[in-house]
Amino acid sequence: ELLEILSFDSVRRRMSVIVRAATGEIYLFCKGADSSIFPRVTEGRVDQIRARVERNAVEGLRTLCVAYKSMAPEEYEAACRLLQTAKVALQDREKKLAEAYEQIERDLILLGATAVEDRLQEKAADTIEALQKAGIKVWVLTGDKMETAAATCYACKLFRRNTQLLELTTKRIEEQSLHDVLFELSKTVLRCSGSLTRDNFSGLSADMQDYGLIIDGAALSLIMKPREDGSSSNYRELFLEICRNCSAVLCCRMAPLQKAQIVKLIKFSKEHPITLAIGDGANDVSMILEAHVGIGVIGKEGRQAARNSDYAIPKFKHLKKMLLVHGHFYYIRISELVQYFFYKNVCFIFPQFLYQFFCGFSQQTLYDTAYLTLYNISFTSLPILLYSLMEQHVGIDVLKRDPSLYRDIAKNALLRWRVFTYWTFLGLFDALVFFFGAYFMFENTVVTSGGQMFGNWTFGTLVFTVMVFTVTLKLALDTHYWTWINHFVIWGSLLFYIVFSLLWGGIIWPFLSYQRMYYVFLHMLSSGPAWLGIILLITVSLLPDVLKKVLCRQLWPTATERTQARNQCLSVEQPTVFMLSQTSSGLSF
């Protein structure tokens, strides 16, 4: 008969039940992490079981210890009362409950230990390896013991056989002071890296020394603890410095709040990296909420994590495609969207600005109001919209196969000032070409075979026509994945512009108060030089960008471009190189 449940909480890491046996005896059974059970045990084969637990942990099994005690009726009454007062307390209920549990769970007799093999999800190792090759730093935050966690890390290839493990654990801190340990570790780590930049770390070179850091929750709280002498920030800096030079970090025995704490620490460190937290249990919720991107794995442990996350995925392995394929695509698409929007509007407005110098600064518009309104809505909107939904600069399987391509977009590479300045200057150059090209064509000369003159609306329409075609063809040159939809919107937008212009100027529209555009477009098209000028100006505008693309691809190709070239040249599968080596440790791979 179940009398009481002393529920689990992640701080004290155990739970108990009080039961009455058929014989009338009252027992308290307690199970929990070995570090929280062993201190409360007075009897039992402690050393033997402790050794057994250690061995289990090293093999990667998750261990629990179980203990019991029998309670006399008065003891039970006292316990009951204690629990009751604590449960109904109006203030500090948590604290009172914790104290009550503390009181009740003592003087236990050790029963034994259990071990559970928590299988790694399929392809977890593959995913982690891919992420590391992509230049993403992977940290493992777990509540498990150090040995279990370390074994798991070896199994999922976070630590490789040549990874030198550095420990920042309670054990070491007990021997030396925190200060000494931190300094020693940082010296070790910085000695080897020196001037090498860790960003170029290819991930599998055998000659660079690989470091892995193991830290546990107690040590972390020591580092994070605010001190009066202000040295805590130094410790944090040192800690982050060590972490920066390690290829992987394992944090074990982490309480959920500590997981969030560490995410916050990294978020606000010097380089302000973008953080992603992925977890499947309720104890991961706080770190999922803290990180920039929180991902919940919909798992057997319920939906708490998934509910609190930005994205939920069914399995851990889906993270690989999500980041390396979809993430990469979205970044390429969004950065082109942003840059292109600024570019096409610079092309749009700068000729208007230039015209002011020639119209007495009277704010006379170069283009008709219909063109002004519809430029961004109809003539140039659909192509970039569909580009940002559909573009694939390299194939999906190429991205999956070669995670290092992800490094091409690291550190917001496509939205930096330099790239933006290039696009802006391109827009300015194009605008100058449009305007002054038309200007020199029109200046004081006749361009029709009938000798009649063009007016200002024809001039503006010529500039506008060149502009619409140029910005659309610029996007066409940037598109690397031409589906039928892309063809449809790009050529369709241009066609729509032409049809609209013909209709707009083809009839005396009764609802218009002005008829200034009547026949302007058609008249412009009846002039030979206008056609020649349009072709020339479009070519001149697009030439520099094409040249830049080709030169950059030839002289300074990015990894992505090299892959594209390679895929074109080779039709045979790339040969894979196997490296065999002897393993010296007891762990198998």
């Binding site: 599998l204 009938g450 589906t483 009547y518």
Partner: protein, 310 residues
């Protein structure tokens, strides 16, 4: 698990899984090089053709076009450009008597609506130019060159956009209750009393003036000198006498007036810019093609060795 619950798995269609069949081009030197050379090879001859055609426009044969040109005259000023009433000019009776507010302050005068209203109409060019040929040195008689005043405006302007107010009465009757623009000497129905089809709003000089020029230095078609027959040149060599009836003041705004005689080819008047531009761009393109070829050749050897990446 959950046999009857609807699966939330996305459809496995090509569109939703981003597997649509696609052409995947990318610009390499190999694809762009031929384009540069082609552009060079096409543009240069076109440029030469245009340039030659443009420069050949000097023999005064064929139709000759006479233009008047103005400088420092901002027909493209915003307040000026909007100061017109297209409905009135299209013959709308209600707009004739009640011009649009855009025409202010040239909308009403002496309590009558102005026809045509607006600043553009008000500032119409009203100099008269006449061309005479001095027959020979000894004989001082001047031979008047016949100047054709029809066919100088856009056909669509003359026949669709600009219409006189409808009616069977005389033009003067149709324009009663209106007054002429402030700066005009004659009312609009006296612009060409000899030719009914060139009077009122559909007067071609008026239409040409109403098409606002794009830049402050512009020219407008004034008259046509038609060629007589193939044997004689339209304007034979000799001395010519230009008679100007000076009505149009330009000194106040530091403007300049001039008269231009030009022949016209399929590509319009003399315009060296286009020809030169084509030749320049064609040459640059060709040059870039050569440069890229050199770079490509140099790097092709180094990229042929296998990239050993892990």
């Amino acid at each position: 698990p959950g046999g009857t619950t609807k699966t939330r798995r996305p459809d496995n269609t090509a569109f939703k899984q981003q597997r649509l069949p696609a052409w995947q081009p990318f610009l390499t030197a190999g694809t762009v090089l031929p384009t540069f050379f082609i552009i060079g090879l096409i543009f240069i001859p076109i440029g030469i053709g245009i340039f030659v055609t443009s420069n050949n426009i000097r023999e005064i044969e064929g139709n000759v076009f006479m233009y008047y040109g103005l400088s420092n005259f901002y027909q493209n000023h915003r307040r000026y450009v909007k100061s017109r009433d297209d409905s009135q000019l299209n013959g709308d009776r209600s707009a004739l008597l009640n011009p649009s507010k855009e025409c202010e302050p040239y909308r009403r005068n002496e309590d009558k609506p102005i026809a045509p209203c607006g600043a553009i109409a008000n500032s119409m060019f009203n100099d008269t130019l006449e061309l005479f040929l001095v027959a020979n040195e000894s004989d001082p008689t001047l031979m008047l060159i016949p100047l054709k005043r029809r066919g100088i405006a856009w056909w669509t302007d003359k026949n669709v956009k600009f219409r006189n107010p409808p009616g069977t009465e005389s033009l003067k009757e149709r324009f009663k209750d209106t007054t002429h623009p402030v700066n005009w000497l004659k009312p609009v129905y006296e612009l060409d009393p000899e030719d009914e089809d060139n009077n009122g709003f559909i007067n071609e000089d008026f239409i040409v003036w109403m098409r606002t020029a794009a830049l402050p230095t512009f020219r407008k078609l004034y008259r046509l000198i038609e060629r007589k027959n193939d044997l004689h040149p339209t304007l034979p060599a000799g001395r010519y006498y230009l008679n100007i009836t000076y009505n149009y003041p330009v000194h106040s705004f530091d403007g300049r007036k001039r008269m231009i005689l030009s022949t016209v080819s399929w590509m319009g008047g003399k315009n060296p810019f286009l020809g030169i531009a084509y030749i320049t761009i064609g040459s640059i393109s060709f040059l870039l093609g050569v440069v890229l070829l050199v770079i490509n050749h140099k790097y092709r050897n180094s990229s042929n060795t296998a990239d050993i990446t892990i």
